[in-house]
Symmetry: C2
Subunit: 335 residues, 2 copies
């Protein structure tokens, strides 16, 4: 098996940076769109193991990435806890029922993980389809990001409702984060049992907090996850969390993802030896080939001397030409 | 006149931090909502000097802030350049016509500033109404933020279309930013003529860039504005621009606003002597009184020894109880 990603995540020296792309399985690929068109909706894809496995493998075949990331959604966890989500075409996910009171929190149960058998089935089918070519990456949302969705019911620029809970109901907030954390641990353990070789925790809305709030409401839960699910290497990607980088770099995760607003040089003073992942601006891929190659090389140079997993600094945007993504990947592989 | 704000902005030692609040004139005040209800829409309020002046003065009377900020919108500039905006209840501003091609940019004209007479009239009426009690703050959007709106047509989480232009059409991007900058300079000069004593430039979408892009596409234009409109002190607030703080702190602006994700201590290594503005998390105002007072004092302490203008780290959220905002202000004034 191509184990570049696993070795890099563990901090070993690798002959080149392994590469995968956040949202590599998705709308950038015509083959994905063809499958998506043939079914009723996004959730059918997530919940049908054969289809989820097929789109998970597509970028390995088409783009030549060094790992497959299981096709799923971070919102399966709130659903398993009692808050089902819906996916609205063009507007993203939303929750018909949200957390409004403390008794809503008390009514939620901790997910055992067994509710999400379709994910483990998809992992098993993916492994079969890959036949050992590349490792499978598992994933989950970070507790705070799931917390945001459970309270706001959908995406938001400020997540002011969720932040309000942290200041105005600290105890209830911790209770909810605790339940999400335990659910996430159960879920990731079963992903590992099904055969993921590494996993990433996505803290997509981290950027609306501050150093102080991140220390109190995020780090303890993140660290618990990484500690309790330590059978395989782990990556944490906290988008926008520039204020928490030293905490993340001394966390229990093996690797830390950087969004495109950060420069590895700015983190040098922290003196971490952890593997870094990232972080090219995905909008670079809208430019011409020469520019894409140049910026990809500049990105690689910016990580030189650091154990590195190449990636974009954000999920690839759906209207990106997949050939540019392939050029990004090929440039990294040729380096 | 209470000139605390002007003295603090110039870096002078003041007996206490002056305080104003971003979006202080607006939906938090019942008196504002009463006026807003009596008219057809947001734009009527912006374009009717008597009403704009009235809501500008409200927070001086009700909240006791140390300055009035003229009630207007940053989108009057694209409108004056040839792209009218509309304000949709609950969904924010949007542009029926956006920039799609280079010829769309060529078709835009530089605003002379005279298109926006209603703003200067509102400033004159505000000064009359204030009768010298506190200074009036003028404002404009930063060129990159206006650029984002002109290309995307509305708010966005990623502004990937706007960022695409920077990478894929650098020359055209500079042409558009140049036109916006010149329009903004003309506009701010006329605000100063009408009597604003200080102004703030809002770079609301700065956070989607990076150090490199900010240096190339933002700083030169921001610096030109501050240099050409230097008759009164100036503040720049680039939300999310953690990567550009050293550039902003060595810019031509007198003061630099911090969003709530930044900690003044983290900027100490830059060694700037500039006035800082900010930066309490606006969601603190959802908590109980004791917590609001405690966090306000902690915020003041975090700026001790630095010339400081007290403010929130983001515009106050519309559903905030105005009494909490007053408590924030009173706590600062009593300190």
């Amino acid at each position: 098996m191509n184990d570049l990603l696993l070795r890099a995540a563990r901090g070993e020296k690798t002959e080149r940076s392994p590469v995968w792309v956040m949202r590599q399985a998705g709308r950038i690929l015509p083959e994905y769109r063809a499958i998506r068109k043939s079914i009723s909706g996004f959730k059918e894809l997530v919940e049908t193991p054969e289809l989820a496995a097929e789109v998970t493998i597509q970028p390995v075949d088409i783009l030549g990435v060094d790992a497959a990331i299981i096709f799923s959604d971070i919102l399966v966890i709130p659903e398993a806890m009692g808050l089902p989500y819906q996916m609205e075409e063009g507007r993203g996910p939303w929750f018909p029922k949200v957390i409004k009171t403390e008794s809503d929190i008390n009514a939620l149960h901790v997910a055992e993980g067994s509710e999400l058998q379709y994910v483990y089935d998809a992992i098993l089918l993916t492994r079969k389809g890959l036949n050992g070519r590349v490792p499978v990456i598992g994933f989950a949302g970070a507790p705070f990001t799931i917390f945001c969705y459970m309270i706001e019911g959908r995406g938001s620029k400020t997540f002011s409702e969720a932040r309000k809970w942290l200041h105005a109901n600290p105890e209830a907030s911790h209770n909810l984060l605790e339940k999400i954390t335990q659910s996430t641990i159960n879920y990731l353990k079963l992903q590992v049992e099904a055969g993921v070789s590494i996993y990433q925790v996505f803290d997509s809305w981290a950027g609306v907090l501050s150093a102080e709030l991140y220390k109190e409401y995020c780090m303890p839960y993140l660290n618990r996850i990484a500690q309790e699910v330590s059978q395989v290497p782990s990556i944490v990607f906290a988008k926008g969390a520039h204020f928490a980088m030293s905490d993340l770099l001394s966390s229990n995760f093996n690797a830390v993802g950087l969004d495109w607003t950060l420069n590895p040089a700015d983190l040098a003073h922290i003196g971490s030896k952890k593997t870094l992942q990232g972080n090219m601006d995905p909008t670079v891929l809208y430019a011409d080939d020469q520019y894409v190659v140049q910026k990809t090389k500049e990105m690689l140079t910016s990580f030189s001397g650091i154990p590195h997993i190449a990636n974009l600094g954000h999920g690839v945007y759906p209207d990106t030409d997949w050939k540019k993504v392939k050029l990004f990947i090929d440039t990294i592989k040729a380096n």
